[in-house]
Symmetry: D2
Subunit: 325 residues, 4 copies
């Protein structure tokens, strides 16, 4: 029954923003809350780019492959560059952008206006701090904002062996979003402008995209909760712990990992006969890709909501089934 | 902790859709849940129109005046026609569309491709069943879908003296939305396609607009609740009852209504001196327009959450202040 | 067989630009040549406006009514204001823009980002220098560029009684275009940025709109010719002289002008029976509008190519036919 | 001084269309004339695709790399597939499209809605009839229109050894354009819809793109001329004859071709020292790419306007300079 101001001008959003700024060690950051990941990518990329610019992305980047053309819908091209396990690299980025500016005909081409990366990537992999620093340096050299899609950021920050902290992300990127939807919230992504000012009349532009939530305090309440007592980080740790159990389960079952992911997405190639048995036992996996006639790469994902017993059951089932192969 | 399928393919959305179809007496309707009103307008209008078509609207229509250009953002023109107290009329609509088709040069103009109305309108006014039937007949004559923005539909259906039911809306319109955000939900609008098929690959197009909610069951749960035991209608009745008390309060205070609205939005022109005193007493109103140097038209809105005592307090305060004028 | 650089980087375009700058008495102007009028309007408006802005226009403005939604196609709203005989007025413009900025909710609305006028207007009427100065003053007060569509500019500059010169246009507007298509060229419009810098990477944006002519020297040659020895002005004078003969013809035939146009477009309301006889005699007119059951407003247009004998024939025919009424 | 109807509704356009239909052996074709190549690509692709569809193209395709994002500007993604020497291949096209339809998540992706090829390609290479038939078969299997960019079509049809005729193009593609700008016209491209109906209200959509030429007869006259007495084909033959002389010149100078192009674009890698000397002698080439520190790939192009003596001079100069290396 509590009455709040609309459109994210309420005390919960204000409090959540303060906590996020503190967690980022970036007091000058500007923060806005949006509902979903594709929406956040569309709004940020469209409002930061000039009309003659496109966004550079890995070929496998979410904005390039799995957002139904939401970026192009706003008039901007996604400029594909090569990737390995979902990651782009500073050297190839620099080569691509240098070639653009050296081309005598570049006024007939789409200008590279910002760089999109995801961390964790669509393959669950992570950038090292050195890799991020190198990409960030190329971006600054060419005056291109670096934008990080943090849909699964909690799981990246909690991964074993990572040397990238939330403060590093805030320092090396110009704008990024902290994913809520995939990290414990009903919905919501916190867009954080650290080294780039929030685009002019941002509320108007968010509205124009149909992306302005009237009762914005519902977003504020969720992020205020996630950033109280380290909940956002604990959520990540829980999922990572279970993903590690799963990895060990794969190894015990004699399965090789398809990609060596340190985060909550685990990819493994399984015989189709076994996949059928998993389905019979109500175990859910996601088809990823097929590189052989009788085997399929599938993805298992742990989250804040995954129970340890579920992961252990899957490990046991896989061991049993593989033993029978 | 319950796991559900994503993107509105869950059992709550299915159940809510069934209940809405029943309430509409339209078993063949197709329903999709979106997050907000501007988003619903943008997605529906853009996906229903052909690229060479625009949407006909009252000059005061929400899509024409208060959505930051969200319709034009998708490439479509809003074709303004005259209005009275927020309503358009069949005769003027027919004249406008006839003129278009008679113009020898109409291939150089935007085609009128659908008609947008709101019920209640932006001024709180309502169409009569006869008025809706006449508009609907013109739309069918010219093969233009009729789209009704029902952001405040609950309040329209509960208004004293209205002869328009939800079934009438479903029968006379081709597509409309049932507003959740302004009628008791945290967020959410139920788009109902009754006489028009849902546009092809609608999920893809919703995604392309950045409007697809991952955890769609949060929408389903809310609408399933609103359409259980007539809650949606009760919410409307409560607000209308309080709006009637407010109207009586205005009369008692000697105030003339600016617009004769039978719904939950009430407009009254107050001396600026009194407005200042309201502010001092923490009474919130919304500036509407200014037609005189020392008076201002303001809007008061009741809702599902308004308490009877608040309305009575406002009535008493106005009576006291006006007496002192 | 002459070889030239492409994309308007040739010596003819350079020479034409110099002559236009001299004719405008504006040495710092920047000039670009485009192919057509709708294209010029679309490119200029889209590249000058910010994404959250729309263009203010008379309801009858060409961009609002006869360009098939080319402005909205680029994501911008046309903000209609009232007009009289095709003209807008400073007082109403100021009222409209003031209301926008005073509205507490204006961040949910389309920002008025520039003002579009046509001179002559779509009704053949002209602004006086005083009227243009007043509109220009409002634009500067609110920091909105003033854009003048000069599709028929030659005919406006040559009209009897006008006190507006090309230099006035250059001084009072921020950007305008000098129409070639309707004033003697095969095609082409010269966009002149006087008080506004040419938008950044303009060639890229023109290309992105599909509007960059590869062999731009064909545009340059035409404008270089039109601005040599005052040809552009002579073309206007010829058409105006014939339009005056036509006006006298209407008067002699006892016909009242529908609009008192001093330029090459003349509007007259004729009985439908007479229109039929004109058609039988192969006399071409353009339907304008119908305000009575048995009469129709039609438009006759003179141009650089109209012969005096054609106009005199029309005058004689009308006199004969009207006498028989 | 001749008066014609506007917007390509004149007798020249009609006559040109008849001649093109005859040359294509496709009496049911529908033809529209546009001004430029990027414009033609933008208008055709945007009007043929559904809003949720993108166009499949070689990574090197003109629409993907050198049109400043004109396709994305209209909201559509260019879906890159691999290429070799500018050409795509049926097997890879089929693999790409099959993968899309097999992906359980494809409703979150851009649908492949049409296929773009250029002939000659951006590298001067040509498809064989068999290759075109195979691509066409894949397109028909998946119900995707095949669109051929014929900016340089005259040069492809005249190439030595090609087995592809204009009739083959008309039969195997659904829509294509016959380039005028690069093949002897001042400007103009003839869009030919053979197996696909011209999109509904095409004139309106062309206008909406700012692409409708008012005095369309200027386009008609040029194409009527080009398709009279085989002029279009003769223009191609002339350029090809000179390109062959150039190829022999490269060989005589001991230079290896960078790409084995049978058409009027010839690519060769030259030492940078020699390029400098060419510049000193006023010989114009176009930078293509740089794969070595001291050498550069450059492009030479012959056309309808190239003189035999120019080509022979270039061959002699190269021989002389290379001998001195």
């Amino acid at each position: 029954m509590e009455q709040n101001s609309g459109y994210c001008c309420d005390r919960y959003c204000a409090s959540a923003a303060e906590k996020i700024k503190e967690a980022c060690a970036c007091p000058e950051a500007e923060i806005f809350f949006l509902v979903g990941g594709t929406q956040a990518n569309q709004v940020v990329i469209d409002t930061v780019l000039a009309p003659y610019e496109g966004v550079v992305s890995a070929q496998t980047g979410h904005v390039n492959s799995h957002e139904a053309g939401a970026i192009e819908f706003t008039g901007h091209k996604v400029l594909e560059i090569p990737q390995r396990e979902g990651k782009i690299f500073a050297s190839e980025l620099e080569a691509f952008v240098s070639r653009f500016w050296q081309d005598g005909n570049h006024e007939h081409m789409v200008f590279p206006g910002m760089v999109y990366i995801s961390h964790p990537t669509e393959y669950g992999t992570l950038y090292s701090k050195k890799e991020l620093e190198d990409i960030s340096a190329v971006c600054r050299k060419f005056n291109m904002p670096l934008y990080l899609d943090g849909a699964r950021l909690a799981y990246g920050l909690a991964a074993p062996g990572t040397d990238v902290t939330l403060q590093d992300v805030a320092r090396l990127c110009d704008v990024f979003y902290i994913g809520g939807t995939k990290c414990g919230a009903f919905f919501g992504e916190a867009v954080v402008f650290t080294r780039l000012p929030m685009p002019k009349y941002f509320v108007t532009r968010v509205k124009q995209h149909g992306a302005l939530l009237a009762k914005g305090h519902i977003l504020g309440i969720q992020f205020d909760t996630l950033f109280t007592d380290g909940l956002y980080f604990k959520i990540g740790e829980h999922a990572i712990k279970l993903a590690q159990i799963l990895r060990k389960g794969f190894a015990d079952a004699g399965l090789e990992l398809y990609i060596d992911s340190p985060t909550n997405q685990q990819f493994v190639e399984l015989p189709d006969s076994i996949l059928q048995k998993l389905t019979e036992r109500n175990i859910v996996y996601r088809f990823w890709e097929k590189n052989a006639p009788d085997k399929t790469v599938v993805r298992f994902v742990t989250s804040w909501a995954t129970k340890e017993e579920s992961v252990e059951k899957l490990a046991a089932v896989l061991k049993e089934l593989m033993a029978g192969c």
